[in-house]
């Protein structure tokens, strides 16, 4: 019975509030550095970070671009690979039982530990980074997609069966559509992991990207530079996340939650 207020209703608020939230977070960070007089070599002030960024905005943005590209490529690859795996898993209990432990095994390997391996196999190019992104983020996609498809109401599954739908139709016309909100939840979890994957990939044998910058900053004990890179990563994550939210709103108008 609540009437929607400006804060919840207007589209402007949907943009302004997150920005206020971020601003508050940054203010808090700044306060922490002042109140606890945290040394800048541990945690620089937001101001330092901004100054550092404007030292060389072009260079940092181009590194961000590199990481962004890897992130998106790996993420898309994870979707292309993960969703069909989820389909197979939901389709066959036997397959699920055979494949899940394998997926879990791959997923539970600490990715930092295998970064050099990937470089040895795939060289210094984009590929080991993209594969790292893929490895980081395919699991949430698989598991959310599978779980979403499994939770399709029996009522609707029976409807499809009664219409003599093929298994493929059952999956594409019903289960996949039904699972969409949960798949998007998976995407939202995966996208941050994808960003981190790109960074980890860039720790080994890279000559560009934000991961390289972070690694690099160690060579000059430049904590502020590292944090500038980390902030850019955060911004990238946040932008990608809200990009997914937007996409969800556009694609799934029927799933707009009620509270």
């Amino acid at each position: 019975m609540t009437k929607r207020s400006w804060l919840t209703g207007s589209p402007a608020a949907a943009v302004i509030l997150p920005i206020i939230g971020l601003a508050a977070a940054i203010a808090l960070w700044w306060l922490a550095t002042v109140v606890f007089s945290i040394q800048p070599y541990l945690l620089p002030t937001p101001w330092d970070v901004v100054v550092k960024f404007f030292d060389q905005p072009g260079a940092l943005l181009s590194e961000t671009g590199t990481s962004l590209l890897e992130t998106i490529e790996g993420f898309l690859l994870a979707i292309v690979i993960g969703v069909p795996i989820a389909l197979l898993i939901v389709r066959s209990v036997v397959l699920e039982r055979l494949v899940y432990p394998l997926l879990l095994m791959v997923n539970s390997i600490p990715k930092v530990a295998i970064a050099p391996l990937l470089v040895v196999w795939m060289g210094f190019g984009q590929w080991p980074k993209i594969v790292m992104v893929l490895l980081m983020c395919f699991f949430p996609i698989v598991i959310s997609t599978a779980q979403g498809m499994k939770s399709t109401p029996t009522e609707l599954v029976e409807l499809m069966r009664s219409l003599n739908a093929t298994r493929a139709q059952e999956f594409f016309k019903l289960r996949l559509r039904y699972a969409m909100p949960q798949i998007f939840t998976g995407f939202k979890v995966a996208i941050s992991l994808a960003v981190i994957g790109a960074v980890i990939g860039e720790f080994v044998g890279a000559t560009k990207g934000l991961g390289y910058v972070i690694q690099q900053s160690g060579a000059s004990a430049d904590t502020t530079l590292a944090f500038a890179a980390i902030m850019l990563l955060s911004v990238m994550s946040i932008v990608l996340f809200y990009g997914l939210v937007l996409l969800e709103h556009l694609l799934l108008p029927w799933a707009q939650e009620k509270r």
Binding site: E155, L156, E158, L159, M160, R161, S162, L163, N164, A165, Q169, K173, L174, R177, L252, W254, A255
Partner: protein, 259 residues
């Protein structure tokens, strides 16, 4: 057309077994309109699901068109007790779902689209074609589900309380339409209802089930000439007489079977 021999159905639940159906022997001829009445929970929906091939019988055999039923069939349509509409599809595209699913359509898609519009108009939903299910009232949803079950002109129609959420007028109109379809296309119809009058007016034969476990108490032939109407008609007295008898049959078992 439909033949059940010694069919029984037992559900295994956490809290013990429930015998839903027992020793059902039923033969429905092609083009026949059979209505099924019985107290709530006696196994009517279960019986339809057995015929539709959505559930394998615990005992006995089910045949449709001389073939044993092993799964849903293309020429059988099932209208469920609940509307079971896909929430992301508009009214029109929910109605078109069976056409989409059956690729080997004999008519063109455009022809079906016209038919869908025609059906929606028939049930009084013109102007709602592009709405989503959650914007409809209960009865409107049920009518969409009805249109969906009619769109492909099926050979056999299984209908589980199709008019339960409709007002008297709409009921009258639609029951007339249903009779017209049965006569024109020689459709075989098995129809569950709680309205005894409806059962009498629509049926060639009324099957009365006993309360849990559902057994066949009696099969009553109705010889009133068609078309018949739920509204006032020439055979009021006959309808009333049979209705009274069915009422008695339903009550009778109540005292007899409740051990």
């Amino acid at each position: 057309m439909i033949r059940l021999d010694g069919v029984g159905q037992v559900f295994d639940g956490r809290e013990g077994r429930v015998t839903a159906l027992e020793k059902i022997d039923l033969h429905v001829r092609g083009g026949e309109f059979v209505t099924l009445i019985g107290r709530s929970g006696c196994g009517k929906s279960t019986l339809l699901r057995l015929i539709a091939g959505l559930l394998p019988p615990t005992s006995g055999s089910v045949q449709v068109a001389e073939e044993p039923v092993t799964g849903p069939r293309r020429d059988v349509s099932f209208m469920f007790q609940r509307p079971a509409l896909l929430p992301w599809r508009s009214v029109l595209s929910n109605v078109m779902l069976p056409v989409e699913i059956d690729k080997g359509s004999d008519r063109g898609k455009a022809a079906y689209r016209d038919r869908a519009h025609q059906l929606l108009e028939l049930v009084g939903l013109q102007g709602f074609e592009r709405r989503l299910p959650h914007e409809l009232s209960g009865g409107m949803q049920q009518r969409v589900s009805l249109c969906r079950s009619l769109i492909r002109d099926p050979q056999v129609m299984l209908m589980d309380e199709p008019f339960s959420a409709l007002d008297a007028l709409t009921r009258t109109e639609l029951s007339e339409e249903l009779q017209r379809i049965k006569m024109e296309l020689a459709t075989t119809i098995v129809f569950v209802t709680h309205s005894i009058e409806e059962a009498v007016v629509l049926a060639d034969r009324v099957v009365v089930l006993t309360p849990r476990p559902g057994r066949m108490r009696e099969v009553v032939d109705i010889d009133i000439p068609r078309p018949r109407s739920l509204a006032q008609n020439a055979y009021v007295t006959e309808v009333a007489k049979i209705s009274a008898r069915l009422h008695a049959l339903l009550s009778e078992k109540d005292s007899e079977d409740r051990r």
